[in-house]
Amino acid sequence: MNDRMEPVVSVRDLRVWYGTERGAVRAVDGVSFDLLPGETLGLVGESGCGKSTLGRGLLGMLPEGAQTDGEIRFKGENLRTVSRSRLRDMRGPELGMIFQEPLTRLNPLMRISEHFEEALRAHTPGISKDTVERAALEVLGLMGIPPTRYRSYPHEFSGGMRQRLMIGLALVFRPAFVVADEPTTALDVLVEAQIIRILHDLRREFDTSLLLITHNLGIIAEACDRVAVMYAGKIVEVGEARQVFRDPQHPYTRELLRSTISLSTTGLNYIPGAPPDLTDPPPGCHFHPRCPDAMRVCEELDPIDQELSGGQRVECWLHGPDHLIGVDGRDRLRVREELSVADEA
């Protein structure tokens, strides 16, 4: 990617919290990153770490009761603070969302043609049926859906075809920014690979920047330019995907990679314990109770975003800054008492 390119999306210190009886759930807790034109950024982490909240928060699609702070800069506007009606206008032409379960997003009583007509008319009133059909068939073709199926109903499609449809509906406007939240998690491996292929080729056909949320590290490796690793509401490491996979700099990234069962797995590894309760996360680095490398400073001070020489960014005291780490700060934390099953995820 070109260093001089202006980012499409620029997120600064974004926070999202849900009010509950037990207190505020800090689901997104000070997240910053940029997304360049045509770039695919993977967002990975254990379930409950805030991935979906972040994805929805970026597009202003949070449920009632969620509160936000920070900045989401998109084409000169702050998406976090623009009006609801402005957001509604932008969704479609500028911003798109793809969900895990397409069937719940399609109207069973409407033909595919009608879905496209409704979507396009909402933003271009008076657009002709023929114009809609031409635009729809073009995008459906790219998704591998035959034009002969244009007048079918959603239930006449297989799961994989429905997800292609949803992607087609999101892309027919050629939006600049799309969030895809676990788009293949419900699909079988061959169909998943087909869809990943489509998402991977997006940048060639459209100039879309994609935030691809998944818990599957393999998908990140195959489909993403960069990867952001999320833990307990924070992005703990972000960098070029190949680089991060080859040489993870945050202990959480490393342990997540090690615990993933892949074709080259010869022994079982796992991260002891479970991600913290986000109403009351541990002080300092949220990962310190599970971290094999934790030092004294890790339980006392919040780690600071560091840029490493390879361009990777990481929030971990192992990477300094040294001047903030006290005299005994680098002492290893007491040998961690065995985290028992009682704390397992």
Binding site: P146, D188, H200, A221, I271, V341
Partner: protein, 448 residues
């Protein structure tokens, strides 16, 4: 992948060679589900067809082994697993266990076997009654079989919880499923499954719903249980990576059939069936050097109520050839794929060439592609030739015997093809025409 230094939290699976004593023997097992159809169809006594969920499977399960049933959803894995335990009635074949045929046993006799044969399902939340404490849930099998009560029941539940790592047991006994994490719930389910001291455990996607960081822990627990309790496992999964690590043997399933079966090392080192090869290629691996595969099988698993002719995988198979069972429906898919690749405008002009694609929906080795109202049979022939020229390597053409002009259109005749049976190839067995069935050597065959 980063290297894997040994740190705490590391363990290795004991991979031992499976001994040869057969525990369960399946012969031509079939489970067909009758389709209900609409009330009209039933009133008219129409044949509404059936789903061949398990379609003639023969497999031996050896004592002490982990046998993997691996395949995409709808391939019949769960149904076969349930049939093994008599939880679903087999409509054909035999399942022999301890001198009996499970498919013929009455409910009462089956209940007696329940102690020996246990199943663990994918979703631990659905498997546990939300209003029952963990103690009640885990002790339930002992109670309904009248095997323990009172102090004894309490002690055995505590032992079982201890065994699955829910320790100290007092900490978990009085909790409800809602108080436990996903991994803890699956531990409780495993405790309940082993409390009757079973011989065989059928584990249906036991870790699929769990987070990556917990999967390894539950698999490790299953290995520990197997070693301590002398268990035999059937491990059902769609995840080839965990099967590779966990199983001694794997059976790859597709549409109710086993298409390849053999020792795990052999199947993964040298996958033979094109379906197995595709699956392995398609797994997204966390390896930055591995590129996205280009030659993926097209389409999706077809409807099990009306499976493809010949080899069920042929419509998607990158290596299919004349024998594989080409048919009318494949021709429809081919024409539609052509229109999908082209501009909407070409579709506009070409769609009228063919009268009705729906005519191509019945399974048959012969097709007549009728010309549309304003076109001629020669136009249809031209269209088919254009499609062929676009991609001469398309496997379908290998199955075309001839194309002839008729009054109303073009007749396409396909090779009759055949349904490939499971046959030995190398050290494994595979159901694919790429591997010739060995004729029994002279003198070995039945005397005529």
């Amino acid at each position: 992948m980063p290297t894997k230094p040994e740190i705490q939290g590391t363990a290795h699976a004991p991979k031992h060679r499976a001994p040869d004593e057969v525990l369960v023997s399946m012969q031509d097992v079939e489970v067909y589900f009758q389709l209900r159809g609409g009330s009209m169809a039933r009133l008219l006594g129409m044949d509404t067809g059936s789903v061949r969920a398990v379609d003639g499977i023969s497999l031996d399960l050896r004592k002490g082994e982990v046998l993997g049933l691996v395949g995409e959803s709808g391939s019949g894995k769960t149904t076969l697993g349930r049939a093994l335990l008599g939880l679903v009635a087999a409509t054909g074949g035999e399942i022999r266990y301890a001198g009996q045929d499970i498919t013929k046993l009455s409910t009462r006799h089956l209940r007696r076997l329940r102690g020996d044969l246990q199943m663990v399902f994918q979703d631990p939340s659905a498997a546990l009654n939300p209003s029952m404490t963990i103690e009640t849930a885990v002790g339930h099998p002992l109670k309904i079989h009248g095997l323990a009560s009172g102090e004894e029941l309490h002690r055995r539940v505590a032992d079982a919880l201890e065994r699955v790592g829910l320790s100290p047991p007092e900490r978990f006994m009085f909790k409800y499923p809602g108080d436990l994490s996903g991994g803890q719930k699956q531990r409780a389910v495993l405790a309940r499954a082993v409390i009757l001291d079973p011989v065989l455990l059928v584990a249906d996607e036991p870790v699929s719903m769990l987070d990556m960081s917990v999967r390894a822990k539950i698999l490790q627990l299953m290995l520990d249980l197997k070693r301590d309790l002398d268990l035999t496992y059937v491990y059902i999964t769609h995840d080839l990576a965990s099967a590779k690590f966990f199983c001694d043997r794997v059976a790859i399933m597709y549409l109710g059939r086993v298409v390849e079966v053999g020792r795990t090392e052999e199947i993964f080192a040298d996958p033979k069936h094109p379906y197995t090869r595709s699956l392995l290629k398609a797994i997204p691996e966390p390896d930055p050097e591995k590129a996205l595969p280009r030659d993926l099988p097209r389409g999706e698993i077809p409807d099990a109520a009306s499976p493809p002719l010949g080899c069920a995988f042929h419509p998607r198979c990158p290596e299919a050839f004349d024998m594989c069972g080409w048919e009318r429906r494949d021709l429809r898919a081919l024409i539609e794929a052509h229109w999908t690749r082209h501009e909407a405008l070409d579709f506009e002009t070409e769609r009228g060439t063919i009268a009705n694609l729906d005519d191509l929906d019945e399974p048959s080795h012969e097709a007549v592609v009728a010309a549309g109202r304003s076109s001629s049979p020669v136009d249809v022939e031209d269209l088919l030739h254009r499609i062929r020229e676009e991609d001469a390597d398309e496997p379908l053409w290998r199955g075309v015997e001839d194309m002839t002009l008729t009054d109303g259109g073009v007749r396409v005749r396909f090779h009759d093809g055949a349904d490939p049976r499971l046959r030995p190839a190398g050290g494994v067995e595979v159901a694919c025409h790429l591997y010739p069935e060995v004729e029994p050597a002279a003198g070995e065959g039945p005397a005529s």
